[in-house]
Amino acid sequence: MTISAERPTEATAGTASPAGPRSGTSWTNRPGWMSQHLGTAIVLGFLGYLFGHWWGNYLASGYTYIANNGQNGVADFLGLAFMVLGWLLGIGALNYPIMKLFGREAREEAPVPGLSRYFRYTLDHKVVGMQYVVGVLMFLFTGGLLAMAIRTELLNPTVHIFNPGTYIEIVSEHGTIMMMMATSIVVGPLGNYLVPLMIGSRRMAFPRIEAFSFWIFTAGYLVIFSALFYGGFPTGWTGYAPLQNQAGPGMISYLFGFAVIGIGMICAGFNIAVTIVNYRAPGMTWSRVPMFVWSILATASLLTLATPVLFTAGLFGILDHVVLTSFYVNEHGGSSYLWENLFWFFGHPEVYIMALPGFGIVAEIVPVFTRKPLFAYKVAAAGMMGVALLSFFVWQHHLFQSGINPDMRPLFMLTTELISIPTGFIYLVGMGSLYKGKMRLEIPMLFSLALYFNFLIGGITGVFLSDVPVNVTVHGSFFVLSHFHYTIMGGLIFAFMAGLYFWLPKMTGRMMNKKLGLWHFWTMFIFFNLTFFPMFIIGLLGQPRRVFEYAHNLQGLNDFSSISAFCLGASFLLFFWNLMYSMIINPQKAPANPWESLGLEWQTASPVPVYNFERIPVIVTEPYRYSEPGAPAYADFGGGGSGTGSGSGTVGSSVQE
């Protein structure tokens, strides 16, 4: 512990150095609307697109190849690239790098009051977290609408709403938007908002990189969405070559969108990993780090190290389309398998990028609502890191059916089955924490329990799929589709909902309506299972993914699944209504610690001040000492008034407020 208990209540403020940050405000960060914000980003993004497209046409339209096929990939790519550049310039993400070129430091960020701060490039991790909440919900909503379109088409095997091309465009866009959303849905909103609070830090290590990650994430969303205006892409979210090379300009949106969001993911992971390693409060040894932070650290490591490979894969694809290289063209010395390898080298760790934060959330919630310490804390932490490490060695199981050397199959079957061991540890930690617990079935707890139920189904079918014979049999069928919806939606999205219901009172100071929340939970849980469980059967009966026609005898099951999916969609509308109702229409002030959690994030003032803690807390014990009479409070706040417990406080006293 480096900050002793004897802390003066007043301190001399640091004198600003001559070369330090300049004070005062420039027009770029002036409060109000006459500065850089979302509006300027949209305008410059649009102008950037026009310029890039014009420039691309100017550069390349004279080439015979382009003149003959009437498709100018250079113009399409430059249009999107300059759109992203204009977007970042407009929001102010490039102000600081430009100032650095002149050896200057940034001006102090002026406090921006009111709502307008949420439309700006800001250094406050809490504002970035809230921006991410809105951003990922926008992703989720868009992807969800596309899912409804898919299920509508599948209501009848022969009467069609869309033509086959449109259908596959919708499927592809749905998959891509959802997968990109899912990689950031916890790390972005909850990771950015909560990690500094949970580790007792006043700030992120690199707040500008954090803000950059959000705004480039939104730019990536626009790029991927733009594919619809370019005629979409026919490859599904996996973008397999050689179909990738035969696709139209929408494919460039897909490839470039992946690369752009990839940059955002790298930045987000980088910043959070560095923050956790360096900014933990005094006394927060690795065995005292909250489990959610462990999960975010494991995820951030994966984001930082696996995503560059996705970026490279996207870069190669863009080069294939724009300057006609042949990375993925077998006939010209390339290989379509190269894409599969690069894509899945990122893609499988991505599965755990999506799974681990979900387990981190429920590991945080379950002890609160069972009033029990987290069972086998160290096993859970080791499990998180074990999964993260092993996830780099399993990607070839996605290629079992794609021409992998048969001798390699047992090896990757083994590694895939191995990864179920640390995953099982994490799962059993949850079960151990529930065992003999006095459960309070509040909404966050219900969503947490639902995760364990759903993930059990998703996880066990995953073990089946790792087995080569089963994999070969059900490859490309609805069985696989159902499996990953059970793990990603049944795991991650349920955990995200648990997290939102649990932490929104802290983030917004308002309680979510319980009655509406219960309706939301039960409809979502029931109709999720009614939507996706039949798909296991549909898959086993042979219906392939991404095909809009199917055998007549499967119509009953498909209709059942579709109608359930509409109800599932309606459950999300209930959630959005609850959000609007509880936050805007009929806001109810949340108590300081409504769930009686011992977590550090609940011990600081509400609303959380810009600097998070009046005094940097000193961590004095393990994080989950619920129901331990006489246990000391988790942290010593030095009498600064931010914490609920004093240095000699007890658990009981620390949860009273």
């Binding site: 480096t2 900050i3 002793s4 802390r7 003066p8 209540t9 007043e10 301190a11 403020a13 640091g14 004198t15 150095s17 070369a19 330090g20 940050p21 600081y96 790098p97 070129l101 002149f102 050896g103 430091e105 006043r202 700030r203 290590a205 690199f206 980088f270 560095v274 390693v277 360096n278 900014y279 005094p282 930082t304 696996a306 560059p308 490979v309 970026f311 490279t312 870069l315 080069l319 294939d320 300057v323 006609l324 290289t325 042949s326 990375f327 063209v329 077998n330 006939e331 010209h332 010395g333 390339g334 290989s335 398998y337 190269l338 390898n341 690069l342 600097y611 803690f613 009046e614 940097i616």
Partner: protein, 218 residues
């Protein structure tokens, strides 16, 4: 690695807290620099994977057309410039550690010039290629490498330029021309940033040599 340390974030911050946060900041620069190397390693590793994968596959016997080679003149020029930039960064840091700020500035700006020359030749090489980008696996991976290298050179040169420019503005705080080290927070933060930058430059040098051997020699 470009965020700099702000002395005081919260009102009434105690000296102990300020020191604690400062140490966290220095640690962040250290960790961030190494993590940046990790990110770049995976970027280049995927490029190397593509190179060896396509080379081994040799689909349609088109890994490489007979006599196909990227222009050696440009390759050497870029390599020498990058090695010079890296060497200057390392030398400049050693001088900075001894308090010779002016030496650091000279090496810094010279390194930036070397980086810009490398960038120019790396870009110019693209318009002087003696083969079509899609004529073979080799030509494709070479294009991928060049684009990736351009991004790395831009990043490395930017980082070096910002430290050199910052050193100019901070020359009094850094100790001027006298061989002594300032213990001011901003100066220590600056030196930590330079240290991370130097490590990254070392990485750039290693990668440059490896990929030069792969694309221009092997």
């Amino acid at each position: 690695m470009t965020d700099t340390y702000k002395d005081s974030l919260a009102p009434n911050e105690t000296p102990e807290e300020r020191e604690y946060e400062f140490r966290a900041h220095i640690g962040s620069l250290w960790t961030g620099g190494r993590l940046a190397i990790g990110i770049s390693t995976f970027l280049y590793a995927s490029e190397a994977f593509a190179y060896f994968y396509l080379r081994t596959s040799n689909n349609s016997h088109l890994w490489r057309l007979p006599g196909q080679l990227a222009p050696l003149y440009y390759g050497w020029t870029v390599l020498i410039c990058l090695l010079l930039m890296s060497g200057l960064a390392i030398y400049g840091q050693s001088r900075l550690r001894k308090g010779f700020t002016n030496d650091f500035q000279v090496t810094g700006w010279t390194g930036v010039a070397a980086g810009l020359i490398a960038l120019f030749f790396q870009c110019w090489e693209l318009v002087k290629l003696p083969f079509y980008p899609g004529s073979s696996g080799y030509s494709s991976t070479f294009m991928g490498f060049v684009v990736m290298n351009i991004m790395t050179i831009v990043f490395a040169t930017f980082w070096m330029e910002t430290t050199a420019a910052r050193a100019l503005r901070m020359r009094k705080e850094l100790g001027g021309t006298t061989p002594e080290l300032s213990s001011a927070h901003t100066a220590r933060s600056f030196r930590a940033n330079v240290s991370s930058m130097t490590y990254y430059m070392g990485f750039v040098a290693i990668v440059s040599v490896m990929f030069f051997l792969m694309f221009y020699v092997a």
